[in-house]
C-alpha cells in the first residue's frame, strides 16, 4: 500500500527525527566549517571570530594549485586503474559460480576492514627492496638486482588503487550482475568473439555506470591521506595531507577549513563537468 504521502502531518514524524539528525550533524557542521574558513587564525588552535578573506587569499598561490594538481593526478589515475582493473574483474566475478562470488566479495569486504595504516605498511613491505616484489623480480631474473619501489608515485598509486578496488567492485557488482547473459551471447551469435563482445557491447553499454563509478572513486580518492604520506615522496602528498596537517599539526583551523572548501568546490565543479560531458556523450 504505497501512498503518495501520509494522510496526516503526524505521519511525517518518523522521518523528521532522522532529518533533524542529518541537518544538525551534517548540514550544520558543514556550515560551521564554512564559517570557520572566514575566521582569523591566532595560532595554536586559537582563532578570532572576525570576518576575513585572508585564508582564501593565501590559497591562491602556485603552490596550492600544484598540490591540488597532484591530488587530482593521483585521484584520476587511481580511479582509472580501479575501473580498468575493477570492471573486467567484476564482470568475470558476476559470471562466476555463486560460491566463488561470495568468496571474493568477502575478500573485498575484508580489504575494507584493513586500516589504511596497515595497508600502507603492507604495501611498503611488498614494494621494498629487502622483502617485497623486488626479491621476487630478482629471483625471476626480471631485474639484475632487487630494487625498491617505494616511496614513489607508483607506490602511492598501487596502495590507493588497492583501497579503491573494493569500492569499485562493490559499486559495479550490482550493475554488472543485472546484465542479461543473453546480451553477451547475442553478440556472440552475431559473430563477435567473447573478448570483442566484452569491449564492443558490455563496456559501451555501461558507459554511464562506469563514469559514475569513476567519479565516485575519484572523489573518494581525493580524501586519501595516510597512504600518500606512507608510500609517497613529498611531491606526492595530496591536498588532504595538507588539510590534515593544518588541522592537526599546525592547528590552523580557519585555513584548514578554507582548504577543505577549496577542495570541495573544485571537486564538485569537476564532477558536474564530467556528468555534463557524459550526458552529452550519451545523447550523441
Amino acid at each position: 500500500m504505497i501512498q503518495s504521502r501520509p494522510r496526516t502531518p503526524l505521519g511525517y514524524l518518523p522521518i523528521l527525527l532522522p532529518a533533524f539528525a542529518l541537518i544538525a550533524f551534517y548540514i550544520v557542521p558543514f556550515g560551521s566549517m564554512v564559517g570557520m574558513s572566514f575566521f582569523h587564525n591566532l595560532g595554536g588552535g586559537a582563532y578570532e571570530q572576525v570576518f576575513t578573506l585572508e585564508n582564501y587569499a593565501r590559497l591562491v598561490s602556485p603552490f596550492f594549485l600544484s598540490v591540488l594538481g597532484t591530488s587530482f593526478e593521483v585521484a584520476f589515475l587511481v580511479a582509472l586503474f580501479a575501473i580498468v582493473i575493477g570492471f573486467p574483474f567484476t564482470y568475470l566475478l558476476v559470471n562466476a559460480r555463486r560460491g566463488t562470488q561470495v568468496f571474493w566479495l568477502i575478500v573485498m569486504l575484508s580489504v575494507l576492514s584493513l586500516s589504511e595504516a596497515i595497508i600502507g605498511f603492507a604495501w611498503s613491505t611488498l614494494l621494498s627492496r629487502t622483502a617485497g616484489i623486488g626479491v621476487l623480480f630478482e629471483a625471476l631474473g626480471l631485474t639484475e638486482k632487487a630494487q625498491s619501489y617505494a616511496p614513489s608515485l607508483g607506490a602511492v598509486l598501487a596502495g590507493v588503487t588497492y583501497i579503491a578496488m573494493p569500492y569499485a567492485v562493490l559499486l559495479l557488482y550490482p550493475i554488472l550482475s543485472r546484465i542479461e547473459p543473453d546480451i553477451e551471447q547475442a553478440s556472440r551469435t552475431l559473430g563477435a568473439s567473447p573478448l570483442r563482445a566484452f569491449f564492443n557491447v558490455i563496456v559501451p553499454m555501461h558507459r554511464t555506470p562506469i563514469v559514475v563509478s569513476f567519479v565516485m572513486i575519484f572523489v573518494f580518492t581525493l580524501g586519501s591521506y595516510l597512504l600518500p604520506q606512507i608510500l609517497g615522496r613529498p611531491t606526492n602528498w595530496t591536498l588532504s595531507v595538507v588539510i590534515s596537517d593544518q588541522a592537526l599539526l599546525q592547528s590552523n583551523m580557519p585555513f584548514a577549513a578554507a582548504l577543505s572548501i577549496f577542495l570541495m568546490t573544485v571537486t564538485i565543479l569537476l564532477v558536474l563537468l564530467v556528468t555534463l560531458i557524459n550526458r552529452k556523450g550519451a545523447k550523441a
Binding site: 542479461e180 543473453d182 546480451i183 551471447q185 547475442a186 553478440s187 556472440r188 551469435t189 552475431l190 559473430g191 563477435a192 568473439s193 567473447p194 570483442r196 563482445a197 564492443n200 557491447v201 559501451p204 553499454m205 558507459r207
Partner: protein, 345 residues
Amino acid sequence: MSGLIVENVDKFYGNVQALSDISLTVDNGQFVCLLGPSGCGKTSLLRIVAGLEDPSAGRIVLDGSDITTTPAHKRDFGMVFQSLALFPHLTVGDNIAYPLAIRGVPKDKRRAEVERLLELVHLPGKADRAITQLSGGQRQRVAIARALIMQPKLFLLDEPMSALDAKLRETMQVEVKRLQRSLGVTSLLVTHDQREAMTTADLVVVMSEGKIQQVAPPIEIYRNPANAFVADFIGITNLIAGRIEGGRFEGPGGALALPGAKSGIATLSIRPEDIALAPQAGPDTLTGTVTFVRHLGATTEISVDTGNADEKDLTVSLPGRTHCPFEVGDTAHLSVDPASVVVLG
C-alpha cells in the same frame, strides 16, 4: 548431406541431465518447432545448436561438416532471444548493423542493408530510433532483422514471442512464418505454446524431460499422438484407461465399439470435440454425471464424471450454438466416432 543433424546429444549441468540422447534431422528450408513443458530441455538443445553451450556427448553436423566444437561466433547463425537481447546503447539501425560492423563492412553498405532489413520487417525509416522508443512488437522485429542480416545458415528463436500479448503474438507468428517461407532459411523455434507451434512449424518436435517424444507435422501430432504425454500436452484430450476385447472397449462409464482394435489393456485418447451427446444410454455410450458446464461462447464445455481414473472428468466440447441440455448433477450419455479414437499402448 545437407541440413542440420543432431546426433545422440546428451547434456548435463552438474548432476542434472537436461538432455538425453537427442537425435534430430532438419532439412534445409524447414521450419522446426521444439515444443514441450517448462524445463524439458528445449533451450538447452537450441543453445547447443547455437554453440553457446557444449554438449556433454554427441555431435552437431551442418551441411555435412561437424560443427560441434565451432565457437558460436564462427557458426554464422542468427538467433533471437526470449529477452530479445537488443543492445540498449545502440540505435535500431546500429543494432541491426552490428554483425556487419564487427565484420568491418563499410558504413554506407551497412546503411543500405539496414534499410533493406527494416523494409522486410515492416519498420521502414526507424533506423535512427533508440530501442526504448519502440513498442514490444517493434523490438521483436528489430531482433529478427538483426538475426537475419547476415543471411544465416540457421535461424534460431528461443520463445521470442512469449513476452507479447495474445493478439500481437498471433500477428508476429504469422509474420515470422511468412518471412521464413519467403527467405527459405532453415529455422528452429523453441516454444511451449502449442498454438504457436501449430501455426508456424513444418515439423513439431515434442520434448519431455530431456527426451524427444514425437517428431511429426503439426496436424499429425494432434491426430495421431505417439503416446499419452503427447496426446495430453497437445490440445485438450480425454485419456480413458480400460480393456479392448474383440473390437470393443470397456472402461469406466461404459463401452465403445472399436472395430479392428488390438485386444488387451489400452488407453484411449479422445478429443473433446469428437464426443457427442447421445439421447439415451446404448451399447456404445459412456454414461456419467455432469459436474461442470462452461459456456465459453464459441463452444460449450461439459465435464462429465464417468468414474475415470484420478478423478479426471471427461470433457465434452459442443459447438457454440448447440443448446446444452444439462445442469450440474444431470446424467449424460456420450457417444464417440470410433474413427476419431486413438488407441495408445
